[in-house]
Structures are given as structure tokens and as C-alpha cells.
Amino acid sequence: MIRAVLVMNTQGRPRITKFYEFWPVEKQHEAIRNVFSVLCSRAEHVSNFVDAESIFGPAKLLSFPELDFQPKVRRTADSRLVYKHFATLYFVFIFDSSENELAMLDLIQVFVETLDKCFRNVCELDIVFNYSKIHAILDEIIFGGQVLETSSTEVMKAVEEITKLEAASNAINLVSKSVSNWRSR
């Protein structure tokens, strides 16, 4: 399962943080700081994978008190981290061994592609100002720590539908224009 999604800028400031299991705020921040210190010390043109067990600790093992036998194979407890660096932002996914690293790397790609479609030339500021929309997008891609959708067109469709319905159900206008739109005027 995916344990957390972090988006932070190259200064180490978090932009989007989403933990799929509960982490106290202080712990979250410790983790973010640690992740950042690892990421910024990594050279360019190295792999996008980092062993994150020292930061996030081993994943929780499933416990099965109701089973009358001991399961032979338990999920191996480890945390892996995959990141991708775009312009001023780091996109970081933390997950356990039930996911594939390369696939996660592509999931980051899906996320960023969707953002890009949504905001046209997405930049850091779009993310800052459209907090709830970004979360809506993320929720359409990852749900409860599992991959929900991997096609950015589908995600866009879902998000647009939400936006439409939200607009219809209430007079409140959701932020639909992007910063870049506005800038291009």
C-alpha cells in the first residue's frame, strides 16, 4: 500500500502532504525534514529510489489474531520511497513492498501529467492556491493507500465532474481558473 504522498519544493517546504495512515503532526514534520535532507543530498542522474526504512520505519505488519494458524508468509516490512524532481518541486511517494517501484514512478508521472492538464503548465503556485482541487485529483488517483486510477484522462473526467456538480449545487465558485491562465493575460 502507499503510505504517504509528499510534494515539497526544493527549499524543503511542504506543498501537499497526505499520509494514508495516521501520523501525528510532529512526526509528519520530522519525516518531511528527513526526506528532504535525503533528497537534496542526492546527486542528479541517480536512481529515483531511496530506502526509506530509517525515516518511516518498517511498515506495520498485518496482524491476524482471529486465525487459528500462523500465516507462513507475512508481508515483508519495509518502506520504500520514490521521488521525482520537477522544476521547483519534489514529488515523493512512500509505499511498502506490495507496490512496484517503477510503477510508482509512473504513478507520479500520472499525477503530474494530470496536474499539468488541469492547470496548463502547472507551477508551484498552482499547487499552493488550489489546495482542495489538488487533493481532489490525488483522491481520484490514490484511494485509501491503493492505486485507484492510472489514466490521467479518466482522472480529469472525474475531477471535472466534481467541479461541475459542486458549481451546480452551490453558488460558491470553485477556483477554476489557473494562475497560469491569469498570468498569460
Binding site: V25, E53, L105, L125, Y131, F143, E154, S169, N170
Partner: protein
């Protein structure tokens, strides 16, 4: 940053925020963006918190404003400050009827609250209501919240609704309901165990997305108990086949790959189901081979699927053909320029190496390159691989590299890890005692406080009690060398740990005791003298005590020392008089004098006092003795099958020592454990003779090494012992041949740093050419072995399926040949026809599934067709069979059969043509 600043400036100059946010919020973001330091940022955020606190207290906040406040609260919390004062407003917002507000409310509570937060109780009701809503977006928002906020206490409150949603008309809702149920299962398996069958049912949902979602929970279920899901193997295989053959709607394609995420999940599940199950594995061979052949290795996601295929091939019952193609893929990964692919390649190599150790040899240089790589992640992965490859022949190089790396890093977590790996390898494979001690010294010197305490215990005992060799002289020689090495460490400016000091003095104590007891005169070295004096004034009372004891012991005569520290009693039982009957007289006397009678420990109810503690100590030391076997001597890994090639290495070892050797072989884990408990019993007196209760270690440590086995080791546990012994056989034969090469490599590794790369390659070449002939013969022998080793049924014996092969005896081979020559055309038409006819088929089946409800049957039905094809095609692709009996007619028949089954043409298969030509 630059971008942010310019925009910030524009914003400051410009409008009142054209984005629905107020000027305040824009200012906040801007000022945070421009903050120069963490302190400044904190100040800004704290001011913002004050503002929000004030604002939230105002009466009648318009909803739109409120929404913004909530977002600002989220922002504050994201920046690391406490926003708990506003949680209640987020909770209130979930009650709102307007969709945007409700969604914002849910977003906020999922980010703010833990599943045992007090406020959850206020939300459960709303969630219940929203799960029943007509608006599917409301339902989705509620489901999202459910995943994060519901714990085992609140699951029953929402469970009925979630289960109901499994049949919702919108597939997006069904998908999310499956995932929510999965989350419940992860959090509290007991609460939903009766609903597990739902996941099976959803596997046949007519929406492939819902089917994909159900794979996640099924993966978890299979991980726990593969046996109960063996019946799904054929379903999984047929789904995978359909996915791989692009029978899913185009919208599931990703980078021209058909539903890769579903493929990855399926492959993971199949890997678990096929592990140690030959029958199940055989049904997977065809589809695995197809996917490996078809996957596009130019995209990331294609490689992800390929990697999962390798993992699956390595986990299931081995098939030589598939292993070969997996090895090819690994070669591609390792040769790639991408670090990511190298990483995956190294990982995959580690998985495959147990099954076919000879692959590692081809990639030695690539592996060495990865070890030299500046990328830490890659380096660590490579160490992981080396750990798996370690044998007594290469242990020195590997452990030395590991120690070097350990010294170079500062990450304590990983340091601990790699130190434990070093110790483990050194204990298992040490070529000589001297090397062992030196290595341990290095490890302790650089990671002293991070090493498990029992390691030091074992080392101490080893030195104190000899190495299990008959020759006393070597023992004492080694002891003196050990002492010298300790003295050298002591001489260094800073002793790394108290721990080491303690052991140094204990060692001195024991050695002097031996000397005194043997009646020799003891001259204390000045270094020792000063060390002891230092410790006499140590802050640690424990160290002080040891130092004083040593002083006292040295001053005693031989007989007294013999009595205190008797020699060679390691195997003697010390009987502990638990009842302390020798004190009875004294106790009676005391009671007569009016003392309180003794109250047993459990009656005292946790009244902590000294006698209580001591009895506990005693108890413990009886339960958990020290593990007392020495480290392993170089020896072939397999004890029962002693290989003639390497039998010269075998040194006769006493029984106690041999225990360690059986340890790494997981299949005999139970027996070795029994052995260890025996050992424990025998030994627990020893520590007490030194009067140090601190020596006792928990039993858990004795079984440490199997639990530290790498992740994929676990999946191999189940695999048949036959495959184990097979792979080990070939390992044995290989061991000797790798030796000189490794040595050369090692030399190149430790040679001049100016051009290590080039030298390593030339060194490699030289060794290759010199040992080329031998290598060649050995290699071919190994290959032969692997071909002969597996019993014929491994390769899908035809005799299992007599009806299939005899079905077409009258087909004219020449006609088939014509068809074959025209392969490109016929294959495309064939393929097209296949998809055309079958595609509607499957869609109708999907449609049926909801009506019939008897979901599994459908996939069983589907799978009957592919299984027939499976046997057909695999017979064509199995190499040894067709080589042994080159029969063109057979081959053609098989090919024809395959085509009739609608399987993709096997024109890729070179053997087919070899058959025809030969």
C-alpha cells in the same frame, strides 16, 4: 522559487485575489514564500494562527469564508503547526449539505484527525447518512473519509452501508467500496472476515476497474494464506492472459501497455500462489512467457511489468526456459544506463540467484560497477545482493567492502543493519579465526554501540573457551593474538564504547586466570596495568567492579584461581539449588527470632525489592541461555551431501559447532532450533560461574539469523526441497571456479584508486582467458546438470495429455509447413480473428456475471480454453524435449494445435525452425 517570487509580486500589485481566495490568504502565501529562515516562517505562521483563532470566534461566519479558513488551517498544519483549535469547525463543515463545503469538510477531517480522535464520534453519523446519499459524489467523499477515520470500534457502524455499496450502479463507487472494505480488513481483520468472499465476487465484476481494485485485497489475503486461494489460480491466469492480449477496453492502456497496474498486481499474486506449487506454476508458464516476450522494455511501466515477471518466475516452481528469459531481461536491466533499471536488475538478480547461481557470474562486472556507483540506493541494493551471494570463498572481499562502506556512512539505522550483516556473514563463512577476530574488531570499532550485544558475548566466549580445535597451541596462539589486537584498540585515543571496555577487561581477566591457574608467572603488561587503573576509577560501577575483581584474581595463588574460575567447564552442568535449601537452618533461626516468613513472589504483587529481582534474573538465565556454538568454519553449505570437489575444506568440527551450518538452510529450521534449545540447556551454568547475570541474553537472539533473511527468502521457504538441493548442487560445483576470479576482482577492487574501473575489467579479462577452458567445461557441465536435473514432468510431459497430442494424427505435415512459411500473414489474420471473435465473447461474459452471480464458474469456464492451449504451446517452447527428439512432424503438429487453440503464433521460437531444418 524565482517563479513564486515574481508571481508573488504581481499578486501584491494586482487584484484582490482573482482565485476565490481572499487577499489575506494570498499575503500569507506570499510572505511565507519570501521568508528567509525557518524562524521567520514560524513567526508568520504563528501570527496566522492568532488571526484564525480570532476569526473563528466571530459569530455568523459566511460559509464561503469558513471554507477558506479551513483551507488556511490545513495550510498551517502542513507547515508543521498545531491547528487543533479549528478541528471542530472542520467537523461541523462535514454536516453541511452543500457539496463543496461537505467535500472540504471531509478533506480537512481526513487530514486532521486520527482514527481514535474524540471528534470522530461526531462524524460517524454524518458518514452513515452520506453513504446512503443519492449523489454519488457525496458517497465517494464519505467513502474516502471512511478509509482514514474508521477504526475497529466504528467499523460495525458503517459496514452494512459499505457492503451495500459493493452493488452500486456506478463503477467508481463500487471500486471505492471494495477499497474501503479492504482498508477495514487491514485495520481489523476480525471485523470483516465474514465478508471476505465479497472480494472473490468482485473479481468478476463487469467493470475491469472494479476487478482491478479487488486484486489489492486478494493480494493481502493470498499473502496470509495462499492455500485457500489455490482455486483462483486459473482465474487469475486467464485474467492476466486476457489483459496481456489487450482484451480490456483501450482506456485501460497506459503508455501502450494494456492495464499495467493490473498486470503487476496479478503477477504479484501469482508469484505467491505458485510458490512451492508445481501444478499451479505450470499453468502460469505460458502466460508468463508471453508477457516477457511481448513487454515493451523501452517504457518505465513495461519494465515494471517485466520486473514483476522475473519476481514471479523466481518465486514459482522453476522452469528452465522462463529462467533463461528472465536472465536475459536482467542482463538488459543491468546494461541499461538508467540507474532505476540497474537497481531493478540488481534486485531481480538477487531473487534469481538462488535458483540459478550461474547468472551472477555473467554480471559480475555490472555488479562491481553498481558497487562503485555514487548512488547510495544502488550501492545498498548491491550489498544486499552480495550478502545473498556470499560463500566462504568470497566472504573476505564482501565483508571488507561492507565494513568500508559501514565506516563511510553516518546513517545509524543503516549502519546497524550492515554491521549485523557483516557479523552474520563473518560468523557463517569466516575462513580463519584470525580473520574473524580482526573483522569483529573492525565492526566493533566503528559501530560498537550499534551491534547486538549477543554478538560480543559470542566472541568473548569463543576466545575464552577455544575454537573447538583439538590443538591447544593454536588456541592459545589465537588468544594471544586476540589480546594483542584488543590492546591495540585500547591504546587508541578513544575507546568507542563502554561495552568494549567491559569486554576487554573481561578478556584480560579470563586470560590471566588461565595463566595463573596453569601455574605460570604473570607479568602484567604496562598497557594492561594502565587500562585497569583507568577502569578502577571508571564512572561505570560495572567496569569498576570488573577491574577490582581482576586485580584481586591476579593476586591470588593458582589453587584459589582454579576454584574461582575453573578451567574448561563449559560443558559442565551447574546445579542450581532453587529452593536454597542450604539456607533452611538460617531461615528457621530467623523465623524463630520473630522474622517475617517469606512470601512468594507472585503473592507479593509487584513489590519490587532486591530478592524479587534476583529471582527473576535467575529464572531468566535458566530459560534463555547463551548460544554457545562457535562461528562456522569454511565448509560447503550442504552438510548432508558432501561434495567431493570441496570436501578438502571440511574440517572436522565438534557437534556444537556444526549447528550453525544448518542454520541458513531454512528448510531444516525446525531441527536446528531443537538443537539450539539443547545447547542452551547444557550451557546455562557457564555464565553464572563468572558471576555476571548481565551475560544472559534473551532466547530470541538465538533465532536471529533466519528472521534477518531477506524478504524474498521467505517466499522460497515453501519451495520443494528438491529444488533446493538442486540449486545447491550447482552452487557447489561453481564455488571452486569462481574463486580465482573473485580473488582477482578483489585485488582490482583494492588496488590503486586512480583507475579502478579499467583495472577491474582487465583483471577480469585475464582471468577469463586463463581459466577460460576450465570455465567453459564447467559451465557446460552446469548447464547439462540443470537440464538433466529436473524430472521430465517439470517440462510438461505430454503423457499427461495424451488426448491432445493424438487429436490430430492425420494432419498433413506439408500443409502445416506451408502455413508456417506464411507465418506472418496467417498469424496476423489468426490473431485478428481471435480477438474479433473472442472479444465480444468476453464482454458478454462480463455482462452475464452480475446476473448469474456465480462468478467463479465463469472464469473457470474461460480458463478451460487457455489451459488446453497452455500444454500445447509449452511443449513447443520447451527446449530440452524438442532437442532430444528432433521430430519435425511433432513440432508441426504442436504448432498446428497451438494455432487451432487460438494462441499467438510462436514464430519467435527458434527451436521450431531448428527442428525443421535439422
Amino acid at each position: 522559487m524565482e517563479q513564486l517570487k515574481t508571481i508573488g509580486r504581481e499578486l501584491a500589485m494586482g487584484s484582490q485575489g482573482g482565485f476565490g481566495q481572499s487577499k489575506e490568504f494570498l499575503d500569507l502565501v506570499k510572505s511565507i514564500g519570501e521568508a528567509r529562515s525557518k524562524a521567520e516562517e514560524d513567526r508568520i505562521v504563528l501570527r496566522e494562527i492568532e488571526t484564525l483563532k480570532r476569526r473563528l470566534l466571530e459569530p455568523d461566519i459566511p460559509k464561503r469564508k469558513m471554507k477558506e479558513y479551513i483551507i488556511r488551517l490545513l495550510y498551517v498544519e502542513m507547515l508543521g503547526h498545531d491547528a487543533s483549535f479549528g478541528y471542530i469547525h472542520a467537523v461541523k463543515m462535514t454536516h453541511d449539505d452543500a457539496l463543496p463545503l461537505k467535500r472540504t469538510g471531509y478533506l480537512a477531517v481526513t487530514l486532521f484527525l486520527s482514527d481514535d480522535h474524540d471528534l470522530i464520534i461526531l462524524i460517524v453519523n454524518t458518514i452513515q447518512k452520506d453513504l446512503r446519499s443519492d449523489n454519488y459524489l457525496v458517497v465517494c467523499a464519505a467513502l474516502n473519509a471512511v478509509c482514514k477515520l474508521i477504526n475497529d470500534e466504528t467499523i460495525p457502524a458503517v459496514l452494512p452501508q459499505v457492503v451495500e455499496l459493493l452493488g452500486h450502479s456506478k463503477e467508481a463507487v463500487r471500486k471505492k467500496a471494495v477499497m474501503a472494505l479492504h482498508r477495514f480488513y487491514q485495520k481489523s481483520p476480525g471485523a470483516v472476515s465474514h465478508l471476505v468472499s465479497n472480494f472473490r465476487k468482485r473479481l468478476c465484476d463487469n467493470d475491469p476497474g472494479v476487478m482491478g481494485a479487488s486484486l489489492c485485497p486478494l493480494f493481502d489475503l493470498v499473502t496470509i494464506d495462499a492455500k485457500s486461494y489455490k482455486d483462483l489460480v486459473s482465474s487469475f491466469v486467464s485474467i492476466l492472459k486476457q489483459v496481456a492480449e489487450r482484451r480490456l477496453p483501450k482506456s485501460y492502456d497506459y503508455h501502450q501497455m494494456p492495464a499495467p497496474f493490473i498486470q503487476v498486481k496479478l503477477l504479484k499474486i501469482l508469484a505467491l500462489l505458485g510458490s512451492g506449487d508445481k501444478q499451479a506454476s505450470e499453468s502460469m508458464y505460458t502466460v508468463l512467457g508471453d508477457i516477457i516476450r511481448k513487454s515493451d522494455s523501452s517504457t518505465n511501466i513495461g519494465n515494471a511489468v517485466l520486473y514483476e515477471c522475473i519476481c514471479c518466475v523466481a518465486s514459482i516452481h522453476p522452469n528452465p526456459k522462463l529462467l533463461e528469459s528472465a536472465a536475459d531481461v536482467i542482463a538488459k536491466f543491468l546494461k541499461s544506463d538508467s540507474h532505476n533499471l540497474k537497481y531493478m536488475g540488481i534486485d531481480a538478480l538477487g531473487r534469481l540467484i538462488k535458483l540459478s547461481p550461474q547468472i551472477a557470474e555473467q554480471h559480475q562486472l555490472a555488479v562491481i560497477d553498481c558497487l562503485e556507483d555514487p548512488d547510495d540506493t544502488l550501492k545498498r541494493k548491491t550489498f544486499e545482493l552480495l550478502y545473498k551471494m556470499t560463500k566462504s570463498s568470497n566472504v573476505e572481499v564482501i565483508v571488507d567492502r561492507m565494513v568500508d562502506y559501514m565506516i563511510s556512512i553516518s546513517d545509524d539505522h543503516y549502519k546497524t543493519y550492515i554491521a549485523s550483516r557483516c557479523v552474520e556473514l563473518a560468523e557463517q563463512f569466516a575462513p580463519s579465526n584470525h580473520w574473524f577476530i580482526q573483522t569483529m574488531n573492525k565492526v566493533f570499532e566503528h559501530a560498537g554501540d550499534l551491534v547486538n550485544i549477543k554478538v560480543a558475548h559470542n566472541l568473548m566466549r569463543l576466545i575464552a573457551e577455544g575454537f573447538g580445535e583439538d590443538d591447544d597451541a593454536t588456541d592459545s596462539q589465537l588468544r594471544s593474538s586476540a589480546v594483542e589486537s584488543y590492546l591495540r584498540i585500547i591504546g587508541e585515543p578513544k575507546l568507542p564504547s563502554m561495552f568494549l571496555q567491559a569486554y576487554a577487561i573481561s578478556a584480560l581477566m579470563k586470560i590471566y586466570a588461565f595463566e595463573v591457574a596453569a601455574g605460570r608467572k604473570v607479568d602484567m603488561l604496562p598497557e594492561c596495568q594502565s587500562f585497569i587503573e583507568e577502569l578502577l576509577a571508571s564512572h561505570s560501577t560495572d567496569l569498576q567492579q570488573r577491574a577490582y575483581e581482576l586485580q584481586a584474581v591476579v593476586g591470588l595463588d593458582a589453587q584459589a584461581v582454579q576454584a574461582i574460575l575453573p578451567r574448561d567447564t563449559r560443558c559442565e552442568e551447574i546445579e542450581v539449588d532453587k529452593d536454597l535449601s542450604f539456607l533452611n537452618g538460617y531461615v528457621d533461626q530467623a523465623i524463630e527470632k520473630g522474622a517475617q516468613p517469606y512470601i512468594a513472589e507472585d503473592e507479593r504483587n509487584g513489590m519490587g525489592n532486591v530478592s524479587n529481582l534476583r529471582s527473576q534474573d535467575q529464572h531468566e538465565s535458566i530459560q534463555h541461555g547463551l548460544r554457545f556454538e562457535a562461528y562456522e568454519l569454511p565448509k560447503p553449505p550442504m552438510q548432508s551431501k558432501v561434495d567431493p570437489v570441496s570436501s578438502t575444506d571440511v574440517v572436522p568440527v565438534p557437534e556444537a559447532l556444526s549447528y550453525r551450518e544448518t542454520h541458513p538452510i531454512s528448510s531444516v529450521g525446525s531441527t536446528s532450533e531443537a538443537g539450539s534449545s539443547e545447547l542452551k540447556l547444557r550451557l546455562d551454568g557457564v555464565q553464572k560461574k563468572w558471576g555476571r547475570p548481565t551475560y544472559s541474553t534473551p532466547t530470541s537472539s538465538t533465532t536471529n539469523s533466519p528472521s534477518e533473511k531477506p524478504a524474498n527468502g521467505a517466499s522460497h521457504v515453501d519451495s520443494a526441497t528438491a529444488s533446493y538441493s538442486k540449486s545447491r548442487d550447482s552452487q557447489n560445483t561453481k564455488k571452486t571456479e569462481i574463486d580465482p576470479e573473485k580473488q582477482k576482482l578483489a585485488a582490482s577492487l583494492f588496488g590503486g584508486s586512480s583507475q579502478p574501473e579499467r583495472r577491474s575489467s582487465t583483471g577480469h579479462k585475464a582471468s577469463r582467458s586463463s581459466g577460460g577452458a576450465a570455465d567453459g567445461s564447467r559451465g557446460s557441465k552446469a548447464v547439462e546438470k540443470t537440464i538433466q536435473q529436473p524430472p521430465p514432468p517439470d517440462l510438461l510431459d505430454f503423457s499427461d495429455e495424451p488426448t491432445v497430442t493424438s487429436a490430430l494424427p492425420s494432419v498433413d505435415p506439408f500443409k502445416q509447413l506451408e502455413g508456417l512459411l506464411d507465418s506472418s500473414m496467417s498469424s496476423t489474420t489468426n490473431h485478428n480473428a481471435g480477438t474479433a471473435t473472442i472479444a465480444p465473447d468476453i464482454m458478454s461474459l462480463y455482462g452475464d456475471s452480475t446476473a448469474s452471480q456465480d462468478s467463479l464458474d465463469i472464469f473457470h469456464g474461460l480458463s478451460t480454453e487457455p489451459t488446453g492451449a497452455t500444454s500445447g504451446e509449452t511443449t513447443v517452447t520447451t527446449l530440452p524435449q524438442s532437442v532430444k527428439g528432433p521430430n519435425a512432424k511433432d513440432a508441426l503438429e504442436k504448432d498446428a494445435l497451438v494455432r487451432q487453440m487460438g494462441v499467438n503464433p510462436t514464430s519467435q521460437n527458434p527451436n521450431l525452425f531448428r527442428d525443421l531444418l535439422g
